[in-house]
């Protein structure tokens, strides 16, 4: 098992592994989100108190759950990157942050849109809302920190430290509604009590679980794709990337310009190139 793990940590193996896995995750994720959201919006019954306003839950709860899960995953990758100096884990940290920030922002915006008709206010400074906003700032901090260094490895390690310090906020967000008085209600599905004794009618819960599972798979696909890009950029001088890019050029060149493209072209394909540059643009060669 460990040999498999170590092999996966090598960039070319990871790249090929992700290349095969990501499309399936994406298809399965989008299908689950599609069915879950469709059922949530059109099939599930309206709530006895909130009416149709509750339906934003099918976006809000998956986004909020992911905002916490992604940060946790980022911190775990950060610990691996710092302790074992694993390059792939460094890539994992920096490529997770923008996805996490997006889901956090989505959770905040959908929550505000729900809060106005339900509570009567878009925003209050209670513990749940405030700690979720802090989570967004932590993500933005990781993104900014990554941009602040010119050396990607130094940047990734700084990001890993910030991810580890910030992970203390994850249980605070999750338990804020239990520990303190807040305007935000308690967990409907993600608490031990709620799992033992469901707080949501099954006809409403099923679509929610579907869109949630779909969102996790979707995140997996996007994360893998971002990590693939990160690996390619960092390893751009490595033989396997050159060989890989050469193959891509060869495949494309055989269609468009026979005889023009080949593995030798990769080294020459810089922005300073004239004619070939047109064909190479956007390929990151």
């Amino acid at each position: 098992m460990w040999t498999w793990f170590h092999r996966l940590a090598s960039p070319p193996t990871f790249y090929r592994f992700a290349e095969r896995l990501a499309p399936w995750l994406l298809i399965a994720g989008l299908a689950l989100i599609g069915v879950g959201v469709w059922q949530g919006l059109f099939v599930a019954p309206a709530d006895y108190q909130q009416g149709d306003a509750f339906r934003i839950i099918y976006v809000h709860v998956p986004a909020a759950a992911l905002s916490l899960s992604i940060y946790t995953a980022m911190a775990v990758a950060g610990a691996i990157a710092l302790i074992w100096r694993m390059k792939l884990a460094e890539v994992a940290v920096v490529s997770a942050a923008p996805i996490g920030a997006s889901f956090t922002a989505l959770a905040l915006v959908t929550g505000m849109l729900w809060g106005k008709p339900t509570w009567g206010a878009y925003w209050v400074w209670d513990a749940r809302l405030t700690s979720e906003l802090v989570l967004l700032f932590l993500y933005l901090g990781v993104i900014g920190l990554n941009q602040a260094y010119s050396d990607p490895r130094t940047a990734a390690r700084a990001c890993a430290w910030l991810a580890l310090v910030g992970v203390v906020n994850v249980p605070i967000v999750h338990y804020s509604v239990q520990w303190w008085n807040s305007l935000h209600q308690g967990s409907t599905i993600l608490s031990a009590e709620a799992i033992a004794n469901p707080k949501m009618a099954p006809s409403m819960l099923k679509p929610l679980l579907m869109s949630m599972a779909g969102s996790y798979l979707f995140f997996g696909a996007v994360w893998l794709r971002r990590m693939q890009n990160g690996v390619l950029v960092r390893e751009r001088r490595a033989k396997w990337v050159r060989a890989f890019a050469g193959q891509a050029l060869l495949a494309e060149g055989s269609n468009a310009r026979p005889g023009m493209a080949g593995p030798g072209l990769v080294e020459a394909a810089t922005p300073r190139q004239g004619r070939q540059d047109d064909a190479d643009r956007g390929r990151g060669a």
Binding site: F54, L82, D126, W161, I172, V177, N181, S182, Q185
Partner: protein
């Protein structure tokens, strides 16, 4: 000790350190993390008369009286105590007896909480109207739990 073990120790120490600091900090400032006071807190005199405060609790069943225009009076209760609330203004759609509310306002010397804004506090239960109707026989149904309203002051409740 290898370099790797040193880093492992560093990461573990950081996590434990930040965790302990957060625990101590949030325990010490528990009061500041509370979004609202409960009727028990107000009964215990935690909030001085006239000071701006938030009050959270359930609108007591049978206590709501509507006055002229937008004036309403009702009592807000937690699991132990209740307090009279006076308000003039627009109420949220979800406002009703048995519903959780959070009110901004202040206490008067007559032990009445004068509210300047009222927000509905929803609970974590979701069900279709038919299920809610089927539960009508149960006196506890439709009534939110008083459990989420935790007293802020140690001597209250």
């Amino acid at each position: 000790m290898t370099k790797r073990n040193q880093r492992l120790l560093g990461v573990a120490a950081l996590l434990i350190g930040v965790g302990v600091a957060a625990t101590l900090g949030f325990t010490a400032f528990r009061k500041n993390m509370m979004y609202f006071y409960t009727p028990s807190d107000l009964a215990a005199g935690t909030v001085p008369v006239g000071a701006a405060a938030q009050l959270g609790g359930l609108v007591e069943a049978g206590s709501l009286t509507r006055g002229e225009g937008l004036k309403v009076e009702f009592r807000v209760a937690d699991c132990a105590k209740n307090v009279a609330v006076r308000y003039e203004g627009v109420l949220p759609d979800l406002f009703r007896e048995g519903q959780g509310v959070v009110a901004d306002g202040y206490m008067t010397a007559e032990k009445v909480f004068v509210a300047t804004r009222i927000l509905a506090k929803h609970d974590e239960n979701y069900m279709p109207p038919q299920v809610a109707d089927a539960l009508k026989g149960d006196p506890e149904s439709g009534k939110h739990s008083c459990m989420p309203f935790k007293a802020v002051a140690a001597n209250a409740g």
